[in-house]
Symmetry: C2
Subunit: 110 residues, 2 copies
DNA sequence: AACGTATATTGCAATATTACGATATGTTTG
DNA sequence: CAAACATATCGTAATATTGCAATATACGTT
C-alpha cells in the first residue's frame, strides 16, 4: 500500500526509523556533511553547493528539521541552519549499542 | 519526480544514504533489533514476531540484504539471516566521525 | 512421487517521495 | 515604499515504497 504501519511498532522504533529515513538520501547526506565541514553554521550557501534547485533543497532541509537532525533559526535576511548535536549523539549511541552487542556475541553462525 | 539524482552525488554519499535508507523503516529496525537479541542467527521466526505478512517481511529482508545490512545463507529447509558486522561497524565509524567533529568544533552559533 | 513447511516472486493498489516551476513571504537596503 | 534578495510553500508530474493475496520455488519427509 505504501502506507507504513507505524501503529504496530514501538514509539522508539518509529523514532529511530525516522532519523535513519531522514538521512537516507544522498542530498541530505551531502547537506549534513556540508554542515559538518562549514564549522560555523552557514546559511544559504547550501543551494550553491548542491546540484539541486532551491525549492528541492528547501524541502530536504525541512525533512531534516522535522526529524530533528538539524536546527534552523532566523538570522536576519538569511536562515541559519546547523546540526542538532543531540540527535547525532543519540544516533551514535544507538549504533554504538548495536556494534557492542555484535562484538559481545561472537556468534560463529553464518 | 520521485527519481533520485544519484549521479550528482559521490559514490560514498550514495552508499551511506543507502544504508540509512535501509534502516529507515520501523519494520526493518524491528528486524535488526530481533537479530541482535536472538544471539544465534535465527531463521524464520521473524514472521511470527512481526505484525506483517510473510511476503512483506521477505521484501524487507531483501532490502536489508541489498544494502548489505544483513546476510542470509541457506540452512537446509530454512534460511539463516544474521547481521553483517562490517556494515554496522562502518555505520558506527561514520556516525562516530560526525559526533567527534561536532564535539571538536564547539561552535556557539544557533 | 506426493505432501508439508519455509521462503521468494509476481502483480497490483494505495500512498509516499523527489524534483522543480511558479509564486508567496519575509527582510534588508536604497 | 520599492527593489533586491533569501527562503518557503503550492501545485503537479514522475517515480518509489509499502503491503498483501496469489502463486512459485525449494527442501525435507513420508
Amino acid at each position: 500500500m505504501g502506507i507504513t504501519k507505524t501503529d504496530f511498532f514501538s514509539e522508539q522504533q518509529n523514532q529511530t526509523a525516522n532519523i535513519f529515513k531522514a538521512l537516507g538520501h544522498p542530498a541530505r547526506i551531502a547537506i549534513v556533511e556540508y554542515l559538518l565541514k562549514a564549522k560555523s553554521c552557514i546559511c544559504g550557501d547550501i543551494v550553491n553547493e548542491l546540484p539541486l534547485a532551491q525549492p528541492t533543497i528547501s524541502q530536504h532541509l525541512k525533512e531534516l528539521k522535522n526529524a530533528g537532525v538539524i536546527q534552523g533559526s532566523i538570522e536576519g535576511k538569511t536562515i541559519c541552519y546547523c546540526l542538532n548535536p543531540e540527535i547525532i549523539y543519540q544516533l551514535e549511541s544507538i549504533i554504538g549499542g548495536m556494534a557492542n552487542e555484535i562484538r559481545n556475541q561472537n556468534s560463529n553462525c553464518c
